[in-house]
Symmetry: C2
Subunit: 176 residues, 2 copies
């Protein structure tokens, strides 16, 4: 089954961005490559605020071979800019995507959308790139307000500048 993978960089205190949305503290070490991960996915999903940040960088759609979904309650639904804007439930969207064959699904964030997906128990894997800094304030990857979800550690790798990647998979009791 096509997995939903929440993959993001975070500070050691769990923030994906500073209070104003800046993510200057994140970095991509030379010995780290997104290519192996990109090879496993063909779909990305992000919240509208993450979309705003991505669009400011001019990088929202990853091209015709990557389906891109933007969650928004305020922007009109439909396809444009190489993206599909939607306000349907995460459960309905993932069910729709899974009707087609394909690769895994990258849940890019942010925290509010991650919480919705965790509430619906739709997150199959979590890949965290943990940056060695305490920001002291910011936008959390895991804002409170979802039920306990148990995971299993499936991998960890360290990279230069103290980045450590932690990979977890969802353990659903009675289903594994």
């Amino acid at each position: 089954m096509r997995k939903v993978v929440l993959a993001v960089g975070i500070s050691l205190d769990g923030y994906i961005a500073r209070p104003d949305g800046a993510f200057d503290f994140l970095f991509m070490p030379k010995d780290f490559s997104m290519a192996p991960f990109f090879a496993t996915i063909d779909t990305t999903i992000m919240g509208r605020k993450t979309y705003d940040v991505a669009r400011a960088l001019g990088e929202v759609s990853h091209g015709p071979n990557m389906a891109t979904y933007i969650y928004s309650r305020t922007l009109p639904s439909g396809k444009r800019e190489g993206c599909t804007f939607t306000s349907q439930s995460p459960k309905a969207l993932i069910a729709q995507i899974r009707k087609g064959k394909g690769k895994d699904i990258w849940l890019m964030g942010g925290g509010e959308l991650a919480r919705e997906f965790l509430n619906a128990d739709l997150v199959d894997e979590i890949h965290l790139g943990v940056v060695p800094v305490l920001l002291g304030e910011g936008l959390p990857l895991f804002p409170s307000g979802f039920p306990q979800r148990d995971f299993a550690l499936i991998g960890n790798r360290t990279f230069s500048k103290g980045l450590i990647e932690l990979k977890y998979k969802r353990v659903r009791k009675g289903k594994h």
Copy 2:
């Protein structure tokens, strides 16, 4: 110099306890031992709420070879129960402890006390035992409200049941 080491177990979403203080989700794998860490410290410091939890378990003082400080604004200061109750500033306490020779200092938590120590930039190392569960709510190890603090990853080890230990040391710009 005697280091202040913030060493605690946390959930993957950064909680040291559930909202009611329960920490049933934490576990100590058979292949993990606190003994090497205990050999490096001779002093523990905790906040009053952590003390309440520890006292309910009957384990506050670690014996005559371990100095134990309890931070409290409400309990009377002074020595009793094998512990020293204090309300002085973290900076003053650490300066006082460092006047004597000895081993490192274990900052046991909780989050509010960790924040005070981070505000005073007194945390030299952080050792996290990260448990592979998202609680969805709880008492954070790093409540917001302190300035950015940069660290360097100095170690990571995995243990059974998906526990991963991450060790960081403080990097103070211009001082290293």
